[in-house]
């Protein structure tokens, strides 16, 4: 997709970032929230694979580059303020480094946060070489 025209409308914050909400394109499950700078969004639009900006490592990362759990981007939507996007993706494996399909695997209950989610891989075997 031609990114130049799309990028004109996006408002990066004072850190140069926007929030990206990642949603399974079939089930609507929210898989994760991550951050994008201009380069990450440009590469995501052009390649139709999700790239993010790591705030802790201060570098671009291709989702799945070490785990193989690539996100193929089916649709990108921009919010009214231009400072957040929704990516509808086809998620290979799981989105979360813990092995859950979604990073949002904890649910608020009267007794505290309860784990409730689909575990799709063993993080020790997936990340052992990284």
């Amino acid at each position: 997709m031609d990114a130049a025209k799309l990028l004109e409308r996006v408002k990066f914050d004072d850190r140069g970032l926007i929030a990206a909400v990642v949603q399974d394109h079939e089930t609507g499950e929210v898989l994760m929230v991550a951050w994008m700078n201009l380069d990450a969004l440009k590469k995501t639009l052009e390649e139709e694979r999700a790239w993010y900006w790591s705030r802790s490592r201060q570098k671009l990362w291709l989702k799945g580059e070490s785990s193989g759990h690539i996100q193929t981007v089916k649709e990108v939507r921009l919010d009214c303020d231009g400072d957040a996007v929704v990516l509808k993706v086809s998620q290979e494996g799981g989105a979360c480094h813990t092995g859950y399909r979604s990073c949002f695997y904890r649910k608020a209950t009267e007794i505290g946060w309860v784990e409730e989610g689909q575990r799709v891989f063993d993080p020790e075997s997936v990340y052992k070489h990284s």
Copy 2:
């Protein structure tokens, strides 16, 4: 819901905020992204109505306080890092101040961002007194 135990696991950033992704509890549509500080999350958990922190106005706001478009919170989920939540809500009216049901009413296409969403109210009549 008893907020004290839940709040222990939440990691607010250096601005004292977490990201909140708001999703229609029935359709899975992502309606908006907003920010919460500790007070906003506490009130949301206790009252089961969505409260946020406005970065521009530097104040707590109850979603729907001027428009009537209240969000009744059906479920709260926390991500692996503890710095983002998903709220599954029943949305009265529309989430977006533009009159769209969702703030994410623009879709990336080859010709640019194209508006594609359900318009549910007229912002001029809803916000005329605010």
